[in-house]
């Protein structure tokens, strides 16, 4: 799940231009139909060509059930998705049903561009609570998307490097603190190897139980001594050479890249990770072991939202419910290692069963983790703020500043951003 802001910039001014020009456009609801009929558009994010057949099957099932409807599939490439969605939102051309991660849905919901799907509809009967909560936002009442598929992170370890450097791959670190201890062991035996492969971010503060934002949601408050101590711990680890210097510039996927290249012995990744590592670097085959995420596992949610400007809102809602129903979600989960957000899927033994293959083990582990998984990045911390925090933490980890000073600076700037929203 890549989120690139590189291209979104482009979408920028236009939006302002159009919205400035149109003022507050009243949504014109005349001519909309409450019957399940008519043709709608479905926009997914980077799922074709691999899942074209699956999506077409879902669509065929829907149109067979509701004669007189048709669904046009518009799949968008992974790169530039936020720019595309921004452009669509600004020009009133949002598709009827849109695959949106929660952090894309939030700003659209605030601008009243999405339908509150919890009206006259008890979502908690169908979907797991964590999935529903991901589409509830402070300051706007309602739920602005149907949870679709879920994922979490697992830890992957390089068995060969563990063996060569005096560690046991059967007992890899289970907590962040154990990670530091084992990194020291590895360094002592193999000065050229690295166990650790990422610098801390806001999710690490949440894991450590540090309060991120004040109760009234107006101030960031995570520049505590405890958080500073955690950053300083990474700073010491970096100085001792437990992390490679490239982590200072690495992005969200940086650690899996380093792991695939064999430069580090640890990465986090979804249940689909193993196949990727082995495909790009076949020498890793049989050399990777998988374990549960450190401390608290993260919860990643994808969902589908319905455009408030849809001509056929009833049809759009019906389709969004159709594509996220237990049956269709289970089929999807059988095709690729992701997990349904429907309550009844827990009875599908496929997900929890370890069939002995590494991929099967990863799937079973991840499925077991989902019960405890939590959203570790509060949605108030948007991508720009994450980037800013990352810059400051890099400065501290590199040793140019104390953890406290870096966090103070980051919090001050993030509060400024928050006040300008």
């Amino acid at each position: 799940m890549r989120i690139r802001n590189l291209t979104a910039a482009a979408a920028a001014l236009a939006l302002a231009l159009t919205t400035a020009a149109c003022g507050d456009a009243k949504s014109d609801t005349s001519g909309t139909s409450d019957k399940i009929t008519g043709s709608i558009t479905l926009q997914t994010w980077a799922l074709t060509p691999k899942f074209t057949d699956y999506l077409n099957e879902v669509i065929a099932g829907f149109t067979a059930k509701y004669p007189g409807t048709s669904v046009k599939l518009l799949d968008q490439p992974g790169d530039g998705y936020s720019a595309k969605v921004l452009a669509q939102a600004s020009s009133n051309t949002l598709p009827d049903v849109i695959n949106l991660p929660p952090d894309f849905a939030l700003p659209l919901a605030k601008q009243k561009l999405l339908v509150d799907v919890s009206k006259d509809n008890d979502l908690s009967k169908t979907y797991v609570q964590g999935g529903i909560d991901a589409y509830k936002f402070n300051g706007v009442a309602g739920v602005f998307g149907y949870p679709w598929y879920l994922n979490t992170d697992l830890d992957y370890w390089n068995v060969k490097q563990f063996k060569d450097c005096g560690l046991d791959a059967n007992t890899p670190p289970a907590t962040t603190q154990e990670l530091f201890t084992q990194a020291a062991t590895m360094k002592a035996k193999c000065p050229d190897n690295f166990l650790m492969s990422r610098k801390p971010d806001v999710s690490d503060f949440v894991r450590a139980g540090i309060k991120i934002i004040s109760d009234d949601g107006k101030q960031f408050v995570f520049n505590t001594d405890q958080a500073a101590a955690l950053v300083d711990q990474y700073k010491d680890a970096y100085a001792k050479g437990y992390l490679p210097p490239s982590v200072l510039n690495s992005d969200y996927q940086g650690n899996s890249k380093l792991f695939t290249q064999g430069k580090v012995a640890w990465t986090t990744g979804g249940a689909t990770g193993l196949a990727d590592f082995e495909r790009d670097n076949p020498s890793l085959k049989g050399q990777v072991t998988v374990s549960k995420a450190l401390d608290t596992p993260p919860l990643y949610v994808q969902g589908v939202s319905v455009s408030a400007k849809s001509k056929y809102p009833a049809t759009a809602k019906a389709f969004a419910e159709w594509i996220t129903n237990a049956d269709n979600q289970n089929k999807f989960g059988h095709l690729v290692n992701i997990f349904p957000s429907t309550i009844s899927s827990a009875s599908d033994s496929y997900f929890g069963k370890d069939d002995g293959t590494p991929a099967g083990k990863a799937r079973a582990l991840a499925f077991g983790e989902l019960k405890d998984a939590k959203n570790l990045i509060p949605y108030e911390v948007n991508s720009d703020m994450q980037k800013l925090l990352d810059q400051q933490i890099a400065l501290a980890v590199k040793g140019d500043e104390s953890g406290k000073k870096a966090l103070d600076d980051a919090v001050a700037k993030m509060n400024q951003m928050l006040s300008r929203q």
């Binding site: 910039a9 992005d251 948007n382 720009d384």
Partner: protein, 292 residues
């Protein structure tokens, strides 16, 4: 002697002019207008805030750092990319067996994709990359040189990347101009016994002077607008503490995503416009003076 109707030049200029007005000038005027507002992505109310964005800009340390980076970038790129591609063009001008292959190959970096460029260059500059390993092997250094994590070295690395990408691009601009340099002048100079170096200085350089001026303008604009090289080498983060960001990176950050601040991004764009005008005016003056 009247050789044309008064409207002929306008008929010739008009299409291009109309295009620029619609797709470039008009949106930019809008940018100027927005720089005095608090416009946000996805709209909402847009209020006039006077000079607030501009005063904020003056107190923004990130903007100062980015401006300094951009100026350093330009100061180094300008001489290198005005002269090196010309030498390269002279090198491949002569018809030799296989020269077409070389000319095409030199153009490759211009069209290489960002992903590959990033991979190749980080592989070169990484702490355990090719350059550091070679230097260690030859006992030139004991500690790896932090090309990708040190504030200034990062800037230098990005400049090298820009020069590497720019060589082929400006080479073909020069190649076209070299074709227009009078062959008879070269021959005359050769008969007078001028060596290759002197012929280059007395015949080639004056012959492509207009092109050198154009290239120097293009280079300075491109250098002040640097984005992708720094983005690639810092993983989009602008280096530790964000000290290796360029103005365009900041503009992208404020204009991009769903949480941007268009008003501020527009004000930064206006600043960038003013800053790029300065070298242009200076270069145009120098060019005029040398023409007289």
């Amino acid at each position: 002697m009247k050789t044309q109707r008064w409207f002929t030049p306008w008929v010739l200029v008009l299409p291009a002019l109309a295009w620029l007005l619609v797709f470039s000038v008009w949106p930019s005027i809008n940018t100027l207008r927005l720089s005095f507002t608090d416009a946000k992505p996805l709209g909402g109310d847009v209020d006039f805030v006077g000079l607030r964005n501009y005063t904020d800009m003056l107190h923004d340390g990130d903007v100062r750092t980015a401006l300094l980076n951009s100026v350093i970038y330009m100061a180094i790129c300008l001489p290198l990319l005005t002269i090196l591609p010309l030498l390269l063009a002279v090198l491949v001008e002569k018809k030799l067996p296989g020269i077409a292959f070389f000319r095409t190959a030199f153009y490759v970096p211009v069209i290489a994709s960002a992903v590959v460029v990033g991979l190749i260059w980080t592989w070169l500059l990484d702490d355990r990359g090719l350059i550091n390993n070679l230097a260690r092997h030859l006992h030139l250094i004991t500690e790896p040189v932090p090309f990708l994590t040190d504030r200034w070295l990062l800037l230098i690395s990005a400049i090298s990347l820009t020069v590497w990408k720019g060589l082929g691009y400006y080479m073909i601009v020069y190649l076209a101009a070299l074709g227009n340099v009078r062959k008879d002048l070269h021959e005359a100079a050769a008969i007078d016994g001028a060596g290759a170096v002197r012929r280059f200085l007395t015949v080639t350089v004056p012959g492509v002077r207009g092109t050198m001026f154009l290239v120097s303008i293009l280079v300075s604009v491109a250098a002040l607008r640097v984005f992708s090289e720094l983005y690639i080498l810092t993983g989009g983060k602008g280096g530790p503490g964000g000290k290796d960001q360029s103005l365009v990176m900041l503009i992208q950050q404020y204009a991009g995503g769903f949480y941007g601040d268009f008003g501020y991004a527009s004000a930064l764009s206006v600043l960038l416009f003013v800053v790029t005008l300065i070298p242009m005016i200076v270069l145009a003056r120098l060019n005029l003076r040398s023409e007289r």
